[in-house]
Symmetry: C2
Subunit: 354 residues, 2 copies
C-alpha cells in the first residue's frame, strides 16, 4: 500500500508525542511492506507565530491532498487569558475540521486491564467498560454566529443544527452499533433545548432504519453522572459537538488518563487522527508527556483510513505489551508503580516500537 | 421567628420526598419555638394535568408572597419522548426561576464520611472533598431565543450573557469564597465561545475586587475530567447555567448519590430550595426514593433564607447521625450494607426526625 500522510504536530506536547505516532507508522510500513510518504505542516500557536494565521493556506492545501493526517495538539495559555484576542490557535483546528468536512469524531474509550488501578474510579466499576463515542464535529454552538456588542456588555453564540447534520452522524453511529453490541445511547438536553428536540426527532427517525439496535435517549446532565456511576452501561454514545467535548474528556478517566485516548475525525475529506489531550504547555519540552495516545491515533489511522486491521492490531498489541511489562509514564503510574518503571516520553515511545 | 413557607412537591418522587423536608421543618419549629406556616401549590406535569399550565398563576402569586419555597422535582417521560410537545413540565421550573429572579443556584457537595464507600470513586480520591458550586440560573442558552424552522429542517437556541448577569453571580461566589478557603475556579469554554470570553472577562474584572481570593479559569471539558480525577482540588466553582447543570450532576457521584444533594436558588425574590435529583418516575410511588436531599434542602432554607444556622446544623447533624447509625436507602447502600439496614423513603425520613 502506498499512502501520503501529513504530520501536523501543532503546539506544546503535540510536538513531542507526534514523533512517536509517526515512528509507529514507519515501523509498520517497514514490517508489513507498505510505503508511507510523510510530509509536515504547521497549525495553531506555532503557525500564528510564523505566519500570523492559525491555519495557513499551505497547510490546508496539503491536508486536502493527503490520504490521512496525524495531528498532535493545539492551544496556548497566552490566548486563554486574553478574552479579547482576535486570532487564536483553536481557530485553526475548528477551520480544518470544517474545511475537510470532518463531521464525525470517533472516540473509543479503550480500557487496558493493566491500567485499572491508575483510574480514580474503582476497578470493579471499570472492568468490562468499552465505549465508542460519536461526537458531531462541524456544527452546534461551535460554528454558529458569534456576537459581541461594541460596548462589551453582551455576547452570544448561536447553538444550531440542521436535520441533515444530525442524520449523517446518526447513521455512522448506528452502523457502528450494528458491529458491536447493538446498543446506542443518544445524549441531548431535549427538556430545555430546541436544538436537542430536533436532534432527538432525527435520531428517533434514523433508529427506525436500524430496528436491530436498541436506542436509549439520555439528558446530558444524567449522562455526565451515569458515566461516573456505571460506565459499563454505555456502548455506542452519540452526541452533539459541545456535549461530546465534555463527555469524552470526562470519560478519559475511565481509561486512566487523557494520555491514553486517541480519536478519529472522519466525514467528507481526509481522515484526521489525534490524541484527545491538549497541548499541556505546563509539561511541554520536559519529556514527560504520554506518547501512547499519539501511537494509538496512528493505529486508528491504519484501521479506519487505510483498512489495515492487522497492522492496527499490531500497534495496539505493542501498547498493551508495554503496559503488561510494567512500563508507565507519570500520568498512568499508580501508587504501586516502582519508580524504575516510570519512563519519559521518548523512552516510552521506544519501548513500544521494540 | 414567624415564616410563611410554600411547599411545591411537583412531579414523581418529588411528592414523596418533599413530605419529609416539610416534616423536618415542622420538627425544628416545634423544638426551637418558631412558627412556620405552610401552604402548598402545584407545578410541572401535575399542574399541566390539572390546569394545562406548568406554572399556574396561583402558584406564582403564592411563590412571590411567601418567605421561602421548598420544591420537590419536575418532569415526566411522556414529554421527553415527544420532541414536538409544546407544553412541558420544565417550562414551569424555568419560568419560576426567571420570575423570581433566582440567578444564583448554590449546590454544596457535602460528603458524609459514612458514604465514602457508596461512591464509584475511590475513597482516597474523595476524602476531604468539599465543593460549593455557584451555577448561574436565569441566563445562558436556557433562556435565549429558540427557533424551529417550519419544515423542521433546522433548530437553534441562542446562548447569551449580559455583563451584569455575570457580575452579580460572580460577586456572590467571591463573597462565599472569602468565608471558605479563598479559592475560586471559574469554568467556561473561552477557547471556543464568545459568551465564555465575555464571562472570563467579567470574572477577571470582579476578581480584582477580591485580591485575597485565588482565581483559576478552567475549560469545561477539563473541569469535567478533573472533577473525577481529583475532586479535592476544587473549592468554590463558578459557572454558567448549562455547564453548571452538567458539572453538578456529575459531582453528585462524589457525594455517593444524587439522592444526597440539596440546592438553594437565590437572587432578587423568594429563595427556592430543592434536591438536585429529578422526578425519577421509574421509582415513584414505591417508597424507594431517598428523602435526605429534601431534608438537606430544608436545612439550606433554615440557613440561607432565615439565617437560622443552629437549626440548620441540627438538621444536618440528624442526617449524619442516621447515616452513622448505619441506616441507608437503596441508592446509598454499598455491597457491605446489611439488608436489614436498607430503608424505604418513609422509614428513612422517620429515622432522621427521631
Ligand atoms: C481545542 C478545542 C477547540 C477542542 C474542542 O473543544 O473541540 C478540544 O477540546 C477537543 O476536544 O478537540
Ligand atoms: C429539569 C431541568 C430543566 C433542570 C435544569 O436543567 O436546570 C434540572 O436538570 C436541574 O438541574 O435543576
Amino acid at each position: 500500500m502506498n499512502k501520503n500522510i501529513l504530520i501536523i504536530p501543532g503546539d506544546g506536547i503535540g510536538q513531542e508525542v507526534t514523533t512517536w505516532g509517526k515512528q509507529a507508522l514507519e515501523t509498520i510500513a517497514k514490517k508489513y511492506d507498505h510505503t508511507f510518504n510523510f510530509d509536515e505542516a504547521i497549525m495553531g500557536h506555532t503557525a500564528i507565530e510564523e505566519t500570523g494565521n492559525p491555519l495557513p493556506d499551505e497547510t490546508l492545501a496539503k491536508a486536502k491532498t493527503s490520504d490521512a493526517i496525524l495531528f498532535g495538539a493545539i492551544g496556548h495559555a497566552k490566548y486563554d487569558n486574553d478574552p479579547s484576542a482576535k486570532v487564536r490557535p483553536e481557530q485553526g483546528l475548528l477551520k480544518i475540521r470544517k474545511e475537510l468536512g470532518l463531521y464525525a469524531n470517533l472516540r473509543p474509550i479503550l480500557l487496558f486491564d493493566e491500567l485499572l488501578e491508575a483510574s480514580s474510579l474503582k476497578p470493579e466499576i471499570l472492568r468490562g467498560t468499552d465505549i465508542l463515542f460519536f461526537r458531531e464535529l462541524t456544527g452546534d454552538v461551535y460554528f454558529g454566529e458569534k456576537i459581541r456588542s461594541e460596548d462589551n456588555s453582551f455576547a452570544s453564540d448561536l447553538m444550531n443544527y440542521h436535520r441533515y447534520e444530525v442524520e449523517r452522524i446518526a447513521r455512522k453511529a448506528y452502523e457502528a452499533a450494528r458491529t458491536r453490541s447493538k446498543k446506542l445511547c443518544s445524549v441531548d438536553k431535549a427538556n430545555v433545548l430546541e436544538t436537542s428536540r430536533l436532534w432527538r426527532d432525527v435520531v428517533q427517525e434514523i433508529a427506525r432504519e436500524y430496528p436491530d439496535v436498541e436506542t436509549e435517549h439520555m439528558f446530558i446532565d444524567n449522562a455526565a453522572m451515569q458515566l461516573v456511576k456505571n460506565p459499563k452501561k454505555f456502548d455506542v454514545v452519540l452526541t452533539a459537538n459541545l456535549f461530546g467535548d465534555i463527555l469524552t474528556d470526562e470519560a478519559s478517566q475511565i481509561a486512566g488518563s487523557m494520555g491514553m485516548l486517541a480519536s478519529a475525525s472522519i466525514g467528507d475529506g481526509t481522515g484526521f487522527f489525534e490524541p484527545i489531550h491538549g497541548s499541556a504547555h505546563d509539561i511541554a519540552g520536559q519529556n514527560k508527556a504520554n506518547p501512547l495516545a499519539s501511537i494509538l491515533s496512528a493505529a486508528l489511522m491504519l484501521d479506519i483510513a487505510f483498512g489495515l486491521q492487522e497492522e492496527a492490531k499490531a500497534v495496539t498489541q505493542a501498547v498493551a505489551d508495554t503496559l503488561k511489562a510494567g512500563w508507565r509514564t507519570g500520568d498512568i503510574a499508580s501508587a504501586e508503580t516502582p519508580t524504575t518503571r516510570i519512563l519519559g516520553t521518548n523512552e516510552m515511545g521506544a519501548k513500544v516500537l521494540e
